[in-house]
Symmetry: C2
Subunit: 322 residues, 2 copies
């Protein structure tokens, strides 16, 4: 896993992934007490950054392997990314999803052309199911984060951030990234270490699900006690990845956490001031910029809004905080 | 008013206005029965295309005139555009607004640095008030659409659409534009006539407020019977502009209209499939693509989502249609 793989992924993604805009609002600057730039990755195809990693991994397969199909397990956003990227490559895809995933994500994944296999998050092991199906049907398993070509794809977000921040005259900033398994965070950290070393990557997690923060603080992989029961479901994973953790350990600043209410409030501010739709898990980095400013070091914050796949009911609940 | 003024405005806007993204979704393509590209101008500074015209007009003033300040009358989006563009130029601004404008727009305009003067839409004439204040205080009046430098600024949206459509391989399309006084529509029509003649501009209005559609159909300026009482308040004007109508007459295809329910449904689809926040008036062109497909001629539709300044209550109402 190295920087050159990110450059190669960027070549493969050219004309397929969107160059998402860097947004800002004087209102958010005032609220945060510093300049805030927002990388609106919720505007990526399928509504999250996951399309980048999916396209990167699928496009890196040889044509014969690709035509047999791919398989993925995901709580939703990785699923949609894989389903859409596979369809565009005319490759079949099977997605193993928890049966309690938001209905919208399940439906979208099917509509994007994937076969969806549901499992019980409490009693079944998704890795086992995924690997078994993979062997039975000759499908290539694409892991959601612990997979070099997926990390390389997510890292293309970092290349864009480096160049967009530079165009806006920002070379020094806390770069806040919503963090689950660490694919996006480690990819961005790798890209920025080369292209924008003044942007210090800081993973952001929901309070109570801060495995990455604790792992970075102790230098050892820490697990979450619980795996569900938070609005930010999209970014909850048992522990940092085997590939992603060493990258984050050597390149990231300390992690941050936000409450569910802070995440909901960030969703509402993104609606009001940026005109983008963020899901709670995708808005945790914006929440950290708005509500955890005392933990930041730079006069500038760059924030990744990583996904926007939120049910209307949840969004309405967020708007009610305004 | 000519194409060269749009090119000059584009130079002045460089690095100040955002290059807004061209979005799409396979779900919307399916719903519309054709390929749909969405120019997300709600992501422009201040949440609407109006920032372009405001910046264009203010930056075109000589420094001594500019420092005396500007004045504008507006139902909201033009107000915010002028207030913000004036602040960035360190020029004072006075905004004359109807007292029944959405509270959010009034507050935002003040917070962006303008002095707000309210008037009664039913009993007072905004033009008269604006011109009186203009004379009294030495302010330069910037009209919302019947002003060459404003049309030139809005026309930069057309330059971007021409180049983004070309990059996506689209050279033939119905180009649907939300239309009030016609500043955006005529600017885009001027730009595309030069840069992308295969994109046929079609103004879209709310049913019952279709002055432009009727004016184009009869070749003579027609007025609206009513001036309020529609969710799409942002794009309701008495009649097409003196400058904008001749441009539209010679360069636009027939107008289209959509119902309030169709506009609300388009707001909901933009939330669900594009992850952008559109206001009802800003979503009428998307509504036409989704629900008035039989009136389109090309296999492709390009849609401008022109603004996203919507109250949380109205947005919640739109989401309830899903």
């Amino acid at each position: 896993m190295n920087f050159e793989m990110i450059l190669a992924a960027a070549e493969r993604l050219k004309g397929h992934a969107r160059l998402t805009p860097m947004l800002s609002s004087p209102f958010l600057d005032r609220l945060a007490g510093r300049r805030v730039l927002i990388k609106a990755e919720c505007l990526q195809h399928t509504g999250s950054f996951k399309f980048r990693g999916a396209w990167s991994a699928i496009s890196a397969l040889s044509p014969d392997v690709r035509k047999c199909g791919v398989i993925a397990f995901s709580s939703g956003n990785h699923a949609q990314g894989i389903a859409h990227a596979a369809s565009l490559h005319k490759a079949p895809s099977v997605i193993v999803m928890p049966s309690d995933a938001p209905q919208l994500k399940i439906e979208n994944t099917r509509a994007l052309g994937a076969e969806v296999v549901l499992y019980d998050r409490a009693t079944e092991d998704r890795d086992e199911i995924g690997e078994q199906l993979s062997v039975e049907r000759g499908l290539t398993l694409i892991r959601p984060f612990d997979e070099p070509q997926v990390i390389a794809g997510q890292g293309t977000t970092g290349l864009e951030i480096a160049s967009q921040a530079d165009a806006l005259g920002v070379s020094d900033a806390d770069l806040l990234v919503p963090c689950g398994g660490g694919g996006l965070t480690s990819g961005i950290a790798l890209a920025c270490a080369e292209r924008a070393p003044g942007l210090r990557v800081r993973p952001v997690e929901p309070e109570g699900f801060d495995d990455v923060k604790r792992s970075l603080a102790t230098g050892q992989v820490q697990r979450n006690a619980r795996l569900s029961g938070n609005l930010c479901d999209a970014i909850i994973t048992p522990q940092p990845g085997e590939l992603t953790f060493p990258i984050m350990k050597s390149r990231c600043g300390p992690g941050l956490t936000v409450t569910e209410d802070e995440a909901l409030s960030a969703v509402a501010q993104a609606f009001l001031r940026l005109k983008i739709v963020a899901e709670p898990g995708g808005a945790v980095a914006l929440a950290a910029a708005l509500f955890k400013g005392s933990e930041l070091q730079s006069e500038n914050a760059i924030v990744v809004v990583s996904g926007g796949n939120v049910d209307p009911q949840m969004f309405t609940r967020a708007l009610a905080t305004l």
